[in-house]
Each structure stands twice: as C-alpha cells, then as structure tokens.
C-alpha cells in the first residue's frame, strides 16, 4: 500500500515542465525516442487506464537517469519507464526474439563474465576478430563497432589478507571482476593503506544490468542474494564499499528490500574516503603528483546525490589539477551502447563529452580523463582516443603504492 501511495504521489509531482525531455541525451539524438516526459509521466496516466503507450519505444531509454537528476519535482521518471518496460515485457508487446536473447544476456553480465574469463585470451581475440563481431551483430544485434571491454583473468580478492580491527566489505562489481581486476586491487590497497581489512564475499552482479534490460523481478532476486551474503556484516555494522558508481546506485537502492536504510552502510569509495577525511582518519601523507586531469562525472554517480567526492579528495594531493568536464552522459549506459540499433545513438549522446575531451587535450588543459564508472571509461576511451581510468589510480600514485 505504501508503495502504491508513493507511486501515486510521484506521478502527481510532475508539473509537465518538459525539463526532463529537454535534457534527455537520448531524445536529443534519436528521433524515434519521444523522451522521458512522454513515456514516463505523460503515458503513465494512460497506463493507469489500462492502455499500453509506446511499448515498443521504452527500450530506447538508456536508464542514465539524467531526467531524474534534472527534474525540479523529484519525479522518479526512469523508475516509471522501467516498470512500464517490465509490464510490456510481461504482456509480450514491443520486442523481437533477437533483442530478447541479447537483452537476456546483457542483463546477466555476471554469467557472461564468468564464461568469458575461463579463457580470457581466447575471448579477447574473438572479440577483436571482425568476422566474429559480424556474427555477433547478425545473430544477436550486438554492434560490431561497439567498444566491448577486454576480459582479463578474474579478479582474485584474496591476495593481500591484512587482518585488522577495522573492516570494510568491498563490492567489486562485474566490470572489476571480469574486465579490470587491477583497479580492484588498487582499491583494496588504498583501503588497506588506510588501515582497513578488506572483505570480499563471493557477490553476484549488483542487478543494474538486469534492471537496465527490463528484468525488474530478477533484479530484485539477485539483490536479495547479495543481501544475504552481506547480512552478517551489515549486522556487525561493517561498511560496504564499491568503486563502481552503477553498483553503488544499485547497492544503495537495496535499502528497503530486506534491510533498512539506516542499517545498510553502503558507500561509494570516494564518498567513504571523504567521510574518513572529515573525521581526520584519512591518510594524507601524499607525494606530489604533477598531473592535470579531466573529470567525467558518471550519471549513476549523479544519481547518488553525494556530489563529486573524488574531485574534492584528489584536489588535496599536491600537484593534482582536476577540471570538471561537466558534459553529461557518455552515452554507453551499461550495455545500451553495445546494442546494434543503439550504437549510433550512444555515440551521438557521448559526442559532447568526446569533443570536450579532445578540446581539453589539444589545448593542454589536461592529459587524461578520470571517471569512476568502468563503462564510461571504455566509452570515453573509444570516443575520444584519450587515456581514461579510475581516480583511485591517482591516489595509488600519491601514496606511492604503485
């Protein structure tokens, strides 16, 4: 009942100002997508009458949540669209078999990762083989031009093994686990450097890809499995840290499932470090690092409503200069930009980011780009040809841990 009342109030909050559509990166480049206002609050009033509105178009939403961040009324537009998408899926309208299989797979990044990292070398060779990519495009609708990430030997968290009184649970997420284990190790080292024992239970995917591909119910089930793994730590008051902003958004949304918001101490890595800093518990014995960086704030970081703690923190390091690119979505949005029919849209969405990066590099404003989100890193590297990495690496350098 409470849910139903929330839903009702949320729809009532829309005053039809159109700011969401004006700022929507997808609507701006894809003529088929009428925008979040139409498919969200506008259509919702008709859906309550039992009418299916724009079922076939819902999948163009990239779930970047720019609409929700822009909305002056706090309307959960992406949530509305996701729910409509799931209902459309249940009623079988608006999709074909190929995209169903593909979305099924992309929704399960975890299994893809497990499969791919059995023999990462082979996977990567295949993914760099144009013929194989053509096959993927034809058979599954996965764009042959998209920057599918490289797979590596799976992240093995049990290397360091420092025991300490202060503990954190680290949620690496699929990208670190299957594509970027070194960043996982870096995060572990930084936390250990600050006196924490880092615990990594055998987590499942955070559920963002499932939700992004319209599998809301399975997303919830996966979340509950993760919560079960976290439960002993939650009860012991151990904070939960992730370096991935999409995982972070998802983890924070676990609050209300089997755990209350106050119990679940989920943090973005830099949010956590900043909190330590505010309590004077963060080590600032930095070496000077002479570097100029462009900072890209991922959509899912914005959705967390915590500001940009990494920028704040890195600016404490002598020699580090950070420029906020302030250009909105990179376009990839998880698996969205990998899809055949969405690749162009995704590249167009990201274009202002790429242009800004190229301009910044050309004018010596900065040499490389940092962003917390693995997907954004892949896409910005692909779109701008500029080195892009997780901000934790700057800390690693400042701590002399590299």
């Amino acid at each position: 009942m409470i849910y139903e009342q929330d839903r009702t109030e949320n729809l009532d909050a829309c005053i039809k100002c159109s700011a969401c559509t004006a700022m929507c990166p997808v609507a701006a480049v894809n003529p088929l997508f009428p925008g979040p206002k139409v498919l969200g609050p506008d259509a919702e009033r008709f859906r309550l009458e039992g009418l299916q509105i724009g079922a076939a178009l819902l999948n163009y939403c990239s779930k970047c949540r720019t609409c929700e961040i822009t909305c002056p009324s706090g309307v959960k537009i992406t949530e509305m669209i996701t729910r409509a998408q799931e209902n459309a899926k249940l009623s079988g309208s608006g999709k074909n078999l190929q995209s169903n299989i593909r979305d099924y797979l992309f929704g399960r990044a975890e299994y893809l990762g497990k499969l791919a990292t059995i023999l990462p070398g082979l996977t990567n060779t295949l993914l760099r083989t144009p013929l194989f990519r053509q096959v993927l495009e034809q058979a599954l609708g996965i764009s042959s031009e998209a920057p599918l990430p490289t797979y590596r030997k799976k992240f093995n968290p049990f290397g360091e093994g420092h025991k300490n009184r202060k503990q954190v649970v680290y949620f690496p997420g699929c990208f670190v686990t299957y594509n970027d284990p070194p960043t996982g190790h870096a995060i572990t080292k930084v936390l250990e450097h600050n006196g924490y024992e880092v615990i990594v239970p055998p987590f499942h995917c955070c559920s963002t890809p499932l939700e992004g591909n319209g599998y809301v119910r399975e997303a919830k089930e996966t979340a509950k499995k993760n919560l079960a793994l976290m439960n002993p730590y939650i009860r012991a008051g151990v904070p939960l840290i992730t370096g991935c902003t999409s995982c972070g958004t998802a983890l924070k949304e676990y609050a209300g499932l089997d755990v209350s918001a106050s119990e679940l101490q989920a943090y973005d890595l830099f949010e956590f470090l900043w909190a330590l800093h505010e309590q004077s518990e963060f080590r600032t014995d930095f070496k000077e690092v002479q570097v100029s960086l462009g900072y890209h704030s991922s959509c899912h970081l914005k959705a967390q409503g915590i500001g940009t703690p990494s920028v704040r923190l890195l600016r404490l390091i002598p020699g580090v200069r950070v420029t906020d690119l302030d250009q909105g979505c990179c376009g990839l949005s998880g698996s969205y930009g990998f899809k055949k029919e969405k690749y162009d849209t995704a590249m167009q969405i990201g274009n202002p980011v790429f242009e800004r990066v190229r301009h910044g590099v050309a004018n010596d404003e900065f040499q490389s780009v940092i962003t917390e989100c693995g997907g954004c890193q892949v896409q910005i590297r692909h779109g701008s040809g500029t080195e892009t990495f997780h901000p934790v690496w700057v800390l690693m350098q400042a701590y002399g841990l590299e």
Partner: protein, 536 residues
C-alpha cells in the same frame, strides 16, 4: 407557416436525445442551444452510468429505470462508455441494517450484485481503506457526457435533425393560447429571428423555468448545485460508492485519465451560480477520506460544479431549504396543455443522465401522438455510433506510436480518417498539442475548424485539450495559431486566451495547494513572465 414540426430548446443529453428520437421517426425538428452542446449539466457531473444501486433503497422506480438504461447504453454506445464496473463499500460508519435493505432492494430492481471478499477488494484497489467491512460489485460504468451528446447530435443529423449552438431561445411565441414558435437570438452575431413550429419541447434543464416563465407559465425547477473534484490520475480502477444513503463526497468515479469525487448538494438561485467554493471542497474531502485514506495528499487539478435541475411538482410546499437529495431524481414530463391549458408546449425536467434516452423516448412518444405520427421508437436498438474499422485503428497506431489512439478515434468518430490523412501528409501534425491528455495537433486543428466550434472551451470539450494535469499551461499557447488561422471565427486571441485561462482558474482557485499551486506558478511564469500578457 411552420419551419419545423418541433423545436427543442436545450442541447443537453435530454434535448439531443429527443432530437435523435424525433428525427428517427421522421418528424422534422430543430434544436436550439444557447452555448455549446453539453456545456451545462451534461458535462458537469461525475460521469457515472448508474447501475441503479445508488437509488435502490430510496427510489426503486429510478433504480429499475437506471439498470435498464445502463444495459441499453452499453449496447448502443460502447465507445462513449467505459465498463469499469463499480463497488458499493460499507465502512465501519455505515449501518449494517441499510446494507441488508440495499441487498433486498437491488434484487427487487433486478440489479445484479456480487459480494467481493475484503482481500480481493484490497488487492484490486490498493489505495482504498483497508478497514472497510463489506464490498459489493454492481454493473456501474462511466460515461463521457460530452461524447454521448455529440453522438446523439450526429446521429440525429444523419436523420435530417438540425441543431444550432450559440442560439438562445429568448421567449416562446404564442398565438391564441397556443405556443407557435420561439424567438431566437444568435449569440455570435446578435441576429434575432423567430422559428415557427407545432410543438416546442422545453428541455432547457436548469433554464427550463425561465423559458416557461417567458409566457407566464409557472414551472418549478430547483437549481441544485453539485460540486465535484477532479484528481490528477486514476486512483481507483472502478466506480467506488459508499454503501449508505447517498451523501456528499461518497462516490469516486475514474474518468478517462482522472478520478472524480462527488458530489455536494446545495440549492442556488440561478443556473449560472456554479462557482465551486472552498467549503464544498472541504466537505467532499472530509468524507472522501473515509474511502481513500490520505486523500489530502492526492493532487486535485480542479473543482467544478454543475446544476441539477430538480423538479418539485407541488411548488406551494414550504421549505426551500430541504436537501436536494430528498427531491425525486426521477423525471417529470409536463404537458402544458393538460396542466396549464396551453397547447404546443411540453416540458421535461428532472431525471438523470443515465436515463436521458428513456426521457427522450417518453417525450417523443407524446409529441408523436400529438402530431399523429405512429412510428415507434428505435433509439434503444440502433447503435449510436458506427464501429471504428480495424484498418483505421491500425493506421492510427502506425502514425502515432506513443499516443492513446483508441481514445482519439472514439472522440473523432467519422472525422478520424480525415485527421489521420492530415497526419500522414504532414507528420508534425501528429505531435501532441495537449501533452497531458495526448491530443494531437491535427485533432485540435480539426476541432478548431469545425463549424460548431467558436471558443477555445468548445475545443476543450471536443478534444480534452487543457483538461489534464497542466490545466492549460502549455496547450493554451499552442492552440493560438489554430485560432489565429480562423480568426474571423474567434474573439481576439488575447481575449480568447484570457477567458480560457480564467475559466480554468475558476476551477483551480478552490483547490490551490500542493502541486497544483506549483503548476499555477509555472503557468503565470509563462503567460505573465515570458509572454507578458499582463502588460496589455
């Protein structure tokens, strides 16, 4: 010299129902309406197609009429009706004795009811109070008053019936104790003329006593003002009534995209006295709270009032203060030849929307008898509207991939193909001019160019433009170029816009809080700030 056999005064449901009925019997008839069709009570009620359940105990005859007409209208006018079903809900404040009486009365009036378990009820209507005691399902439905009136008018036109809107019947014309015609004023251009006929049917609703009074005939019509609230969205999936003797604020009707909560009852002096008041809003919400807990948090987009014309036969009875609900909701057909010795005038007063067809049938029977016409009534058998062909649906769905095309086609009926053709040729006309109610530019353009359309408010009634969440904040501006193209038809744009905004404002003022107040700020920012209409 007679122009028509019959002149009907009043373009509400009853009037157009009579026009259709007479026309189908081959009787030549003209209908006069002082505003737009259905601008009065026929579009200012809760939109409930009664099952009769609400009258079962107090007025079994009305109840029986309702269930009969309910079934007939669902058959002949499915496109104007949404068969939502309805519930009667007993709360802890409602007498169990009344419930038993109600169950018996429903059986007597042949109203089918089914008891719904509380768990099923709570699942199906999650916003409804969980502490209700008993729930019964009845065949209530919702009806679009405006659409059904226009469907009758169009059907009548097909049978050569005529109607003129914005034509006011100023007074009856008599000759030797017999009504022989009506003196008419065209309100758009001020022209005055007289229409001659054998019989005048006075179906002017709340204005009926004024017309009869024009030749000194007393006709006691009580103006019973009913105020209703329109909520921003569908809060219930079906009609929800309180299972108790009818009172203020005890019925929720999901109507199109909104929910209507009604209805107050208060006698007023004049049919024009229809400004909703804050106190009425309060009283509705207080009672509504019992079925919908937390009702104050739900956004109300406007309040509106309609005038129920109730007939009190014995006009010498003192006690004008008696409550409107205790006066019969059944109708009265008054043959003034029998009652007042004046030939050629029949008045029809009282009644309710659900039984408009039956009222029209009774009046038409009497008229036909007087004219010696023996053709029987067919209005209960013949569909009001033709089926919308499958290919039109498909085309609409293709051209408008994110619009509720069913609703558009139901509104447009035979104009649908023209509008779709327009969109096909000029795709941008498929854009939603009214985004809240999803009305396309082409549809609004069609309504604006319609010969019966003279004001933005007429377009509103035809299309639902301005009736949604934003209450005209965006669409009023967007309608301007369409009015501008037909500028000889409309008042100056400024004035048209101001009037429309003021009409919307009248309904918003008594519910000005929460999100609707924010919406008002946005609307003022647009019209006062950006467009600077204040300076003129």
């Amino acid at each position: 010299m007679k122009d028509y056999q019959v002149v009907i005064v009043g373009g509400g449901a009853t009037g157009v129902g009579i026009l259709r009925d007479l026309s189908m019997r081959g009787i030549s008839a003209l209908l006069l309406e002082q505003g737009d069709l259905a601008h009065g009570t026929s579009s200012r009620f809760h939109g409930l197609l009664h099952s009769g359940g609400r009258y079962a105990v107090k007025d079994p005859q009305s109840a029986a009429e309702c269930i009969d007409e309910n079934l007939i209208l669902k058959k002949i006018a499915p496109h104007c009706i949404s068969d939502t079903g309805g519930w009667f809900v007993q709360t802890k404040d409602d007498s169990p004795g009344y419930v038993e009486e109600w169950i018996k009365s429903c059986a007597g009036a042949h109203i089918p009811i089914r008891e719904v378990s509380i768990s099923e009820a709570c699942r199906k209507e999650p916003l409804m109070d969980k502490n209700v005691l008993r729930v019964f399902e009845v065949p209530d439905a919702t009806v679009d008053g405006f659409r059904i009136v226009w469907a009758n008018a169009r059907s009548a036109r097909h049978y050569n019936g005529e109607f003129r809107t914005y034509h006011q019947a100023e007074r009856l014309v008599t000759d030797k104790g017999q009504v022989t015609g009506v003196a008419v004023r065209n309100l758009l251009n001020g022209h005055q003329f007289t229409v001659h006929c054998d019989i005048v049917v006075n179906a002017a609703g709340a204005w009926a006593s004024q017309l009869a009074g024009s030749i000194g005939i007393p006709l006691d019509v009580i103006c019973d003002k009913g105020t209703l609230l329109a909520f921003n969205q569908r809060l219930f999936h079906r009609v929800v009534n309180r299972l108790r003797p009818s009172g203020d604020g005890d019925i929720f009707v999901p109507h199109e995209t909104i929910t209507i909560l009604g209805t107050t009852s208060q006698f007023v002096d004049s049919p024009e006295d229809n400004d909703p008041q804050q106190e009425e809003v309060r009283s509705l919400l207080e009672i509504g709270e019992q079925l919908l807990p937390g009702i104050m948090k739900n956004r109300i987009i406007r309040a509106f009032s309609g005038i129920r014309p109730l007939h009190r036969e014995d006009h010498d009875v003192p006690g004008v203060k008696e409550e409107g609900r205790n006066v019969s909701r059944s109708f009265a057909l008054i043959d003034h030849e029998l009652q007042d010795g004046i030939k050629g005038l029949i008045s029809i007063v009282g009644g309710k929307f659900t039984t408009y067809r039956l009222m029209a049938e009774k009046v038409s029977d009497r008229v036909a008898e007087k004219l010696g016409n023996t053709t029987p009534c067919h209005t209960a058998e013949e569909d009001l509207l033709p089926e919308i062909p499958e290919h039109v649906y498909k085309k609409a769905a293709r051209l408008l991939p994110y619009a509720p095309v069913e609703k558009m086609l139901e509104r447009l009926q035979e104009d649908a193909e023209d509008v779709l053709k327009e969109i096909e040729q000029t795709p941008h006309k498929g854009q939603m001019l009214c985004e809240c109610e999803m009305v396309s530019m082409a549809e609004v353009e069609k309504a604006a160019s319609d010969e019966d359309t003279h004001h933005l408010a007429d377009i509103r009634r035809k299309t639902r433009l301005g009736m949604g969440t934003c209450q005209g904040a965006f669409c009023t501006y967007r309608a301007l170029p369409l009015l501008w193209q037909k500028k000889e038809k409309y008042d100056s744009l400024d004035e048209e816009l101001r009037n429309f905004l003021n009409q919307r404002w009248k309904g918003i003022r008594p519910v000005l809080w929460g999100q609707q107040l924010r919406e008002t700020e946005l609307t003022r920012a647009i019209y006062s700030g950006i467009l600077q209409f204040t300076e003129n």
